[in-house]
Amino acid sequence: PTSCGARGNLGELKDYFIGATPLQKRLESVRKQTSFVPTPPRRKIPQCSQLQEDNDPQKVAFLLHKQWTLYSLTPLYKFSYTNLKEYASLLSAFIAAEKQKGLAVEVGEDFNIKVTFSTLLGMKGTQRDPEAFLVQILSKSQLPSENREHKVLWTGWFCCIFGDSLLETVSEDFTCVPLFLANGAETNTAIVGTWFQKTFDCYFSPLAINAFNLSWMAAMWTACKMDQYMAATEFLWSVPCSPQSLDISYAIHPEDAKALWDSVHKTPGEVTQEEVDLFMDCLYSHFHRHFKIHLSATRLVRVSTSVASAHTDGKIKVSLNKSSYVIFPYCYIVFKMYGICIFHIEEAQWNANLRQ
């Protein structure tokens, strides 16, 4: 199915590139995905890889206990890891200018905010994945005191975890970090996002997590073995009715949830779609037995476990509360999961819509 259609350009491009161009590959992969069942019937439970050894525990710990708003992001054009410092000063000038009513400000001037860019080592799935990086807006204390503690006003980070299928379809001018997570005032997110969009010709869109993926997360997080459970496993369903929607919260003891999971989980090392479905069906039938309400007819909007919680609005939070060294694998799992999710989210979203 070559695309003579996009000929003018692609036809010529074919002369330049031997074999299929990233563009063609992308198109072909989309066609394939569309014609076949897009959702992977099974996913591997990620094991701690050797990559985690590269990580900076301090920084990773910093990512815990914060609520992150998810965005998906198109590849960054001409982004370079060697220019992080420059990006920091440009972005801080941009923020200053935005806040000062759009006046031109000189780069390198002294503002009362500071922007930092830094890499987040180890936050990736494979060696091929580009390095994750962190952007922070810090407030500068007005007093030039010796104890210059910067207060973090806003944090955002970009990552790519197991992005193989995406990486194949972009050329080297692009950096593929399809997941962006932000914590802080939304106006700051908007400013930083705008700057990225203008500077690297990328596009942010809010990433909603549909019920389908929420069930997956619930199952996978339940599957995590914990020494000590901090919170109940809780599900929140929303019943669309007017004038106000009705929410149904369903909390179970985490050990019960784990026991249920263990009873449905058969294949070691991976989680299958059937298992996830079965897990949720058990919960539904249990609820129905007691309350005569078919939860399957409502909409799952939030799941929270001792590991993490996720909301359909695209907000997630890692709740693990242990020394970062010990919990890192878990944390890694959590984010890795999102990394996996993101590639399927697009297809899964409309696939799930189809079923509704």
């Binding site: 199915p1 070559t2 695309s3 003579c4 259609g5 996009a6 000929r7 003018g8 350009n9 036809g11 010529e12 491009l13 074919k14 330049y16 590139f17 990233p22 563009l23 992308r26 989309v30 066609r31 014609s35 998906s72 198109t74 054009y77 001409k78 370079s80 220019n83 420059e86 440009l90 935005e98 009513k101 759009g102 006046l103 400000v105 000189e106 780069v107 001037e109 972009v170 050329s171 692009f174 997110t189 908007a190 400013i191 705008t194 969009q197 203008k198 500077t199 690297f200 010709d201 990328c202 596009y203 869109s205 909603a208 609005d313 695209g314 697009e346 297809e347 409309w350 819509n353 189809l354």
Partner: protein, 732 residues
């Protein structure tokens, strides 16, 4: 442009010359003449001003506005008893109209004049200034005129301040700035006024260009004095840093290391009005973009960050390119000679001259709104440009698509407009975008067949050429479901877009195949494969049409669209030089032949005529080439055509229907009870042509001329058909 409008313009020009000629010495004389002119404009305006688009309901308000404007122009009436009431009434009128629709340039011109001339009290002037909101633009001359009033000192200090603030806020809506720039010195002088200084600074900041260098030295000394009086105020710092940026050597005032630069906000007073004007002007705002992401907005329904339209604003590449070099950004913007700035690109010749050094937009999506850049990306051989566009477009289509979101149909119009823009770009480039294709695949299954119908169906017609069997499950199967369950209008529009799709595929193939006979691709792109794909598409549409005709009981309306499709089909061999002739299925041919509508019959005749031309041309080529190529049409195609042809000739000409080609058992025909069925379908008795026959008879002409009469009635298809297929073979 209407003649009246032209007159108006020439008057405006006359006014301009007066302004520059008499300003500022002969102000009063000029003002009097001006009054006369203005009242004329104000009366005329509204009728033939294309910028304005008021509804009928606004007409009354319009009249009231004109009366009010005239009232203000004349000045306060001193004798009238209830003058305050009248004044208040007129003020209200002006305010209402201004806040709702804005004021036309002429209205602003007059009222600005009133506000600054001091005819009324300060309170009135303030209210007038506060509602000086343009419908679209403000004429530069009005501003120049208004500034001239400042010189005669008729207005109070507070009015002056308000005027400056207004000027800053409305700066972007002033149509030109050249003459205002000539007043640079005047504005500079007003720095000395303490109250005006902050706003004058801001105005100068907006006005200053590198060419204003002559001021930089006096600036230096004046600012020194000012700073010594006022201290280093933030607004002074801001202006100074700009001067210093343009001419670092000329400015000796040193700026403190901790710089505080900002201006007092001038826009507050007109904030909502400004937004409205920007939206009216359609285009995205040229200056400081406000963040649109408020806390009130629920997340998944996120509106655009920092933008009023879906498509990004055209901006030159910002730092991505400059990064890595030293001394980036602003200085590069101003000093770069090697790159041709996008903002200056206005014409095609310019594009040609600078094509080697054109600066690319920072957000490639912006090209959708710019035909010159579309030309550019059409010929540029840089895949990353396309990738940038495609990445953005894919994501935007997905995010904006309204039927992805449950019950969120608020933005339908916006999305329809966006799709229309994308379609325009595809049409302009004669090329389907990959992003649209994938979007189609994903969104078609969810489409209700109603939302943004025409735009969405147009996307279908731009699906790049593909193997039909592969696209069928992705597009056509879904489309068929909607097709069969929807109204006849939907069916017709689907057929229309399939016709366009066929046409696009044929065009691509005819260009592509003759340029590159063999494509080095693992995928099937041989000519045979391609032709197969096209013929499958045609057969598919044939199947759709046959079924649709049955569903819609042979509707004439639908038949028109079907035959339109076949008008493309029958001419593939000759028009596109592609070895393909596919005939229509009987389910289309016979309903058309027996149609009650003469135009259908005529169209059918035309198509048969073209089929004949194509088939004979193909035959001729086969004989010339002699070698058997894989594209020789099978004898079946010829047989099929001959079959149709005999049926037609039997019906229309020889009055021997249902015998050859279109065979019906005579017993069956007996049962119908039609006495002279043999004649009933010939040119005289055919139900589609009966009315012609009758009116021909009424004219009392001889039968010999009947054919000529039919031809003269515009049945060109029939004429061509009879000339080519009948005259030679069988003379009656």
């Amino acid at each position: 442009m209407s003649p009246q409008k032209r007159v108006k313009n020439s008057q405006v020009q006359k006014r301009t010359s007066q302004v520059s000629g008499n300003y500022p010495t002969n102000l009063l004389a000029w003002e009097e003449k001006e009054d006369l002119n203005d009242s004329k404009y104000s009366l005329k305006r509204g009728q033939n001003n294309p910028v304005e688009d008021y509804g009928h309901a606004d007409d009354q308000a319009e009249d009231a506005l004109q009366i009010a404007v005239r009232y203000f122009e004349k000045g306060p009436v001193k004798t009238s008893q209830n003058k305050d009431k009248i004044l208040e009434e007129h003020l209200k009128t002006v305010e209402n109209v201004a806040l709702k629709n804005g004021l036309a340039p002429e209205g602003i011109d007059i009222l600005l004049n009133v506000a600054l001339s001091g005819k009324f009290g300060s309170a009135v002037n303030t209210r007038i200034l506060k509602c000086m909101i343009p419908t679209t633009l403000i004429s530069e001359h009005s501003v120049v005129k208004a500034v001239s009033w400042l010189c005669v000192g008729k207005c109070s200090g507070s009015t002056k301040v308000l005027f400056y603030r207004w000027l800053v806020a409305m700066f972007d809506f002033i149509d030109h700035k050249e003459e205002i720039n000539l007043l640079y010195g005047f504005f500079f002088a007003s720095l000395q006024d303490d109250a005006l200084c902050p706003y004058a600074c801001h105005l100068l900041y907006l006005l200053t260009k590198k060419e204003n260098g002559e001021y930089f030295i006096p600036v230096d000394s004046k600012l020194k004095i000012l700073i010594s009086f006022q201290g280093m105020q933030p607004h002074l710092q801001a202006l100074l840093s700009l001067y210093k940026f343009f001419a670092p050597t000329l400015i000796s005032v040193s700026l403190p290391t901790r710089k505080k630069i900002y201006f007092k906000n001038s826009e507050n007073l007109w904030k909502t009005a400004l937004l409205a004007v920007r939206q009216r002007n359609q285009g995205p705002p040229p200056e400081p973009l406000k963040l649109m992401l408020g806390p009130a907005k629920v997340r998944p329904v996120k509106r655009k960050w920092n933008s009023y339209s879906v498509i990004p604003v055209l901006n030159s590449s910002s730092c991505s390119k400059e990064c890595g070099k030293k001394g980036m950004i602003l200085s590069n913007y101003l000093s770069s000679h090697e790159l041709f700035p996008l903002e200056q690109l206005k014409s095609f010749p310019q594009l040609l001259q600078n094509i080697h050094c054109l600066e690319l937009p920072s957000q490639m999506g912006a090209v959708l709104n710019n035909s010159l850049l579309l030309h550019y990306i059409n010929c540029v051989k840089d895949e990353s440009i396309l990738l940038r566009l495609y990445h953005w477009l894919s994501q935007t289509l997905q995010e904006e698509c309204i039927w992805y979101k449950v019950n969120n149909f608020e933005h339908e119009k916006e999305f329809a407009n966006f799709l229309a823009t994308v379609n325009r770009a595809q049409c302009f480039l004669q090329e389907g975008f990959y992003s649209c294709e994938t979007f189609l695949y994903k969104s078609l299954p969810l489409w209700d067949g109603f939302c943004c119908r025409s735009q969405f169906l147009q996307l279908v017609s731009w699906i790049p050429f593909n193997s039909f069997s592969e696209v069928k499950p992705l597009v056509f199967d879904h489309l068929a479901q909607l097709f069969f369950t929807s109204t006849i209008y939907f069916k017709s529009s689907v057929l229309q877009s399939l016709k366009e799709l066929l046409q696009n595929w044929l065009l691509w193939l005819s260009v592509d195949i003759h340029m590159k006979p063999v494509m080095n691709s693992p995928l099937e792109t041989t000519l045979g494969g391609s032709m197969n794909s096209v013929s499958e598409l045609i057969h598919y549409v044939g199947w759709l049409s046959t079924t649709a005709l049955r569903l819609e009981s042979n509707s004439t309306f639908l038949l028109h669209f079907i035959l339109d499709f076949y008008e493309k089909v029958c001419d593939i061999y000759i028009n596109y030089n592609l070895p393909l002739v596919v005939l229509f299925p009987p389910g289309i041919f016979y309903p058309a032949l027996l149609s009650l509508d003469s135009s259908i019959l005529n169209q059918l005749c035309y198509i048969m005529h073209r089929y004949r031309k194509n088939l004979t041309a193909a035959k001729k080529n086969e004989l010339v080439q002699k070698t058997k190529s894989e594209f020789n049409f099978s004898s079946k195609t010829y047989q099929e055509f001959n079959h149709y042809l005999t049926a037609m000739v039997g019906c229309l000409w020889t009055s021997k229907p249902f015998q050859k080609g279109f065979y019906i058992d005579p017993d069956v025909l007996e049962k119908t009870g039609v006495a002279e069925y043999k004649n009933s379908l010939n040119l005289v008795h055919h139900p589609a042509l009966l009315s012609y026959a009758v009116s021909f008879l009424l004219q009392g002409k001889k039968w010999n001329w009947y054919l000529d009469y039919l031809f003269s009635e515009g049945l060109q298809g029939l004429k061509l058909f009879i000339r080519s297929s009948i005259h030679h073979s069988s003379v009656p």
